[in-house]
């Protein structure tokens, strides 16, 4: 069998940009592709190649043949590609441009698409699966990407179960393909897409970057984390004021090297009150989960708990250590939240952290209150180490709110002009006895108060010192 890999620049003018060989060539290192099967009319092309030197399997639905519709032959190629990746213990990437199952093949095509799903589920948590949606991924082809670990979408990507015509005829809703299943719909509204790319080349670049983070996790180099930066300066003076947590995340992770160590956020615009993503710390791939006070004050709610839960389970299944950054005022109250399943979905996050065997270090930067305190990888859920910055608060609720409940009668009995002063005094007392980081430290739920400038080093040391682990479970799309 001859290598069919061609450099895109030599034939670009003659080839259809949807040609799978052309697309796959943009994903892989130059001249590194070897086909897994001869090219045929199946509508799928699968290859093995290298990304930054690491072996990777990839398949691409052929947008030039019947719009990439999935038939029995094509599905067989995908199943073989995924099973091969599992045998070789390497990542598998799917490039998607498909209108769904081949109608002409009837129920046989449905059976074949189901077998693709079954292969993805078999591989779940064993090897990283990345999907890049470049065109339509409709019907059966929508659930393919959704079953994988990471979904990257180019601006031309469209993911939906039923297209605008069916939607219109059944519900009367008028919407175009982009509105129904484009980057705005899935990057912000549904959360189906983890990474929205600027264009098709950017989608390949991000797929390569993520593949590197998974396939070449590296080892902690503790010499490289000695740099000191006063990260506390990135937070506002006033404890009540919101701020963006992302500069703090970047301050802890590696940034001084090449783009390969950049922090890649997942689902940036969906449930943005929690930030999840992969980056490197001391050269080692780590997963970050952080409350973002800029959005909803950093409160956990049902969607953000679900988002974080799936991310934790993905990292655990691939042995990626976790950094959990906590600044959380609590769970978001409300009828909508309760009826929307904040208990059911919040339980997923508790379960995800509780079962995780990867090293997982918690850092309380400012405050950690109530049920959200537990959900953000508390000691009781098995955190490897819990650090706090000086002046951080760990409590059931803020001291002033707490005495408002505990001393309700005394406060009500106090004269109007003295009530505020009394509450402040009681709060101070309460803080000393029940709140504050010292109390948390004395009972062992916070291990150590660290200087913000030494955060990078201390977290890297704590993660590196813990025994490596890898959760024995799949990555169900929670």
């Amino acid at each position: 069998m001859t290598a069919l890999a061609t450099r895109p620049d030599s034939q670009q003018t003659e080839q259809d940009p949807r040609d799978p060989e052309l697309r796959l060539a943009q994903l892989f290192d130059p001249d590194s592709m070897t086909p897994l099967h001869p090219r045929d009319a199946s509508g799928v092309y699968a290859v093995q190649g290298r990304i930054d030197g690491a072996t990777v399997i990839a398949y691409c639905t052929d947008g030039t043949k019947m719009g990439g519709a999935m038939g029995t032959e094509g599905c067989r190629h995908i199943v073989e590609a995924i099973d091969t990746a599992v045998r070789r213990r390497c990542p598998v990437i799917g490039l998607w441009h498909s209108g769904g199952a081949r109608l002409a093949e009837g129920v046989e095509a449905l059976d074949a698409v189901g077998q693709v799903f079954a292969a993805m589920i078999r591989a779940s948590g064993k090897v990283p699966q990345i999907s890049v949606v470049l065109g339509p991924a409709a019907g059966g082809a929508a659930y393919g990407p959704a079953l994988t670990d990471v979904v990257i979408m180019a601006p031309t990507g469209r993911v939906f179960v039923t297209g605008p015509d069916v939607v219109r005829s059944v519900t009367g809703e008028e919407i175009d393909q982009d509105g129904l299943g484009g980057a705005e719909a899935h990057g912000k509204k549904s959360g189906v897409v983890h990474v929205v790319a600027a264009d098709e080349p950017d989608a390949y670049r991000r797929a390569r970057h993520l593949t590197g983070l998974f396939a070449r996790p590296g080892l902690f180099d503790l010499h490289s984390v000695q740099t000191e930066q006063d990260l506390r300066a990135l937070l506002p003076e006033t404890a009540r004021r919101a701020y963006d947590v992302k500069p703090v995340i970047r301050g802890i992770l590696d940034t001084d090297t090449d783009e390969a160590s950049d922090f890649q956020e997942f689902q940036a615009k969906w449930a943005p009150n929690v930030v999840t993503g992969l980056g490197r710390l001391g050269g080692r791939t780590v997963g970050v989960i952080a409350n973002n006070p800029l959005r909803k004050g950093g409160c956990l709610d049902s969607l953000s708990a679900e988002k974080a839960a799936r991310f934790v389970r993905m990292c655990d299944s691939f042995g990626i250590p976790l950094l959990v950054m906590v600044d959380v005022p609590g769970y978001l109250p409300g009828v909508g939240q309760e009826w929307g399943g904040v208990v059911r979905r919040g339980a997923k996050l508790l379960h995800a952290f509780g079962e995780a065997v990867v090293p997982r270090v918690t850092l309380v930067t400012r405050k950690s209150y109530g049920g959200a305190y537990i959900a953000m990888n508390a000691r009781s859920l098995g955190a490897t180490t819990v650090f706090a910055w000086p002046e951080a608060e760990v409590a059931v609720m803020g001291a002033k709110a707490a005495v408002g409940i505990l001393h309700r009668k005394a406060l009500a009995a106090a004269p109007d002009d003295e009530r505020e002063a009394l509450q402040d005094k009681l709060a101070e007392e309460h803080q000393r006895v029940a709140g504050g980081v010292d109390r948390a430290k004395s009972i062992g739920v916070v291990d150590e108060v660290i200087e913000p400038s030494q955060t990078r080093r201390r977290i890297a040391e704590a993660l590196a010192a813990a025994p490596a682990g890898c959760g024995a479970h799949g990555n169900i799309p929670l």
Binding site: A242, G298, P329, G334
Partner: protein, 71 residues
């Protein structure tokens, strides 16, 4: 098309930062809401002009309530 700025959560309107007719850019703060003992800015994700502000300081807004229209 008009861009609707809505409240992300139940909150008190602490301050209205912009005025009708102001030009705003992606990332600008339009309001500051108070909820869960936190001061939380409401940011725009688009560039535009403030067409109409529909809440006042001191108002209580529910999740999803309209705060302003941008054009």
């Amino acid at each position: 098309m008009a861009e609707e700025i809505r409240a992300e959560m139940v909150a008190n309107v602490m301050s209205v930062v912009v005025q009708d007719g102001d030009t705003v850019h992606d990332g600008d703060s339009l309001f500051v809401l108070e909820s869960m003992k936190m001061e939380i800015p409401v940011l725009t994700e688009v560039n535009g002009k403030v067409d109409r502000i529909v809440v006042n300081e001191g108002d209580v807004v529910q999740e999803g309530d309209l705060l302003a229209l941008l054009e």
